[in-house]
Amino acid sequence: MRRADRWLEVALFFAAGALLWLGFGAPEWRRDVFEPGQRAPLSLRLVTWNVGGSGSDGLGPLRDDNLAGIGASLRQLAPDVIALQEVASEAQLRELARAAGTRKATYLLAPGGGRRVAVLARGGQLRRLPLSVDGPRAMGFEFEGEDGRRLRGVVLHADAFSAEDRNRLVGEATETLQRAGGDLPSVLLGDLNLDLDLGKRRDLFTDNEHLDVETYNFVATRLADGALGTGPTAEPDRRLDYVFVSREELVVEHAGVWRGRRLGDMDHDPVVVDVRVTP
């Protein structure tokens, strides 16, 4: 009897050790490291980047000291369309366009003052698309590349502190894109300030965070989340920046978050999505 008891005890401890070793030692899923060089030929590269800061002196717009560094990153990325958030002035955009390394760059800056959204294209043409939510935080645009490929889009920077404001801005922008109709591919990109991983974080700063689930799904049921599954985009370990693309007209070929490009007190990484326009 005692032998049976001893065997059971040994077997249980052995099983515990083996199972825990197998469970915790199993190869972890590794996030793909995004490399800007991996780009499919004939793809359109879309980028969104909140270039503002969140340093010890509070939230602030893009700093002039960071322009050269950001421009260098953009030059390496060579995107077709770049959605920027927290740009302070047209002069900054001009400087970024120059630093991005092309003389053909065009840009649009949202109306209003303070921290604004902007769109920059390294070539081709940009045109404003009127939105019901036009302002420093939202701007519609149409892009036509040098090769004739066209896109319709909205760049957003949703409120960080109010789930209701986020819902209104993102919802209206999504509906505007859909109402615009036609057969142009659509994109919605920017810092939406939606972090769905509620199991990871209980937010102390928003009024109704769980309702962000509704806002995200409102967009995700209409447009494809281009960089889904590529990890967090902002400090601390949050996914706030998105590139949504229309499902039928655009196929995502490559997407990722390019880490290690922040400067100074910047707290967001650029999100890159390469898409192919379906014939």
Binding site: A4, D5, A15, L20, A26, N208, E214, N217, T221
Partner: protein, 278 residues
Amino acid sequence: MSLRLEALRLRRSRRPIVAGAALSFFLVLMLLGFYTYAQNRTGGNVSFRYTFENRSYFNGLTFSIYAFYFAFLLLLPIFVATEGGAQLAGDGADGTLRLYLTRPVSRARLFLGKLAVAFAYSSVLAGVFLATTLLIGLVTVGWGDLDLYPGVLQMTDRHQHLEQGEALVRFALAWPAASLALLVPLALSLWISAWARSAVNAVGTSVAVYLVLYVVAEIPFFADLRPWLFTSYLAFWRGLFREEIPWAELTADALRLLGYASLFLALAFHRFRRREEA
């Protein structure tokens, strides 16, 4: 003999009746909550108008998922811990254990008999509850396809659509997976029961330890602890409701849970072997 006796004692303890009554009450509340939520949300809340939810989203299968998810994390482990906590300590307190040990039966056999009956009870409790939620969902709302959206119950990161037949297969798979997960709080409570002299203390401590671990896993300050808490893996069966089941991830979680269960059982038996009855 030992198994039959344990089963008879479980039936006479009336613990299954108490658990059934509490779970039924919970289901009534869930049904009320589900119905009113669906009514309010799908009408188009003025201040929060952009929503993905609609009437077709709320069906019997969604109800079943919601009811089972919350009951699984917050109620079933409590009944399971109560069962485990009452085993060795309860038998010790009323002298039954001493009587058992005078017979020529190994402690291993006694321990495994108690474990088998308690585990079977946990599994039946989970299975009957899951089947009841499906039945209530069918009768009151009707089934349909199962749509799951990102963020909801943290079940998926992208929209998942399962046709009714496939969804029911996933529910069937969720039962053994959930039973496996419940083995961990059961083993933990057996360990505590092996130390305690009173069933009340064992049950109270087991439930308290489970709840503390569950709450700690939910608080962001303790995010670094989460990978090491078994409560982080209990709801691993949610992966079965994805269009493409992530088998590798599910297997790793199941191995961790089995590992924790084996460890608690080993510690429980280690203590039980040395336990002396007055």
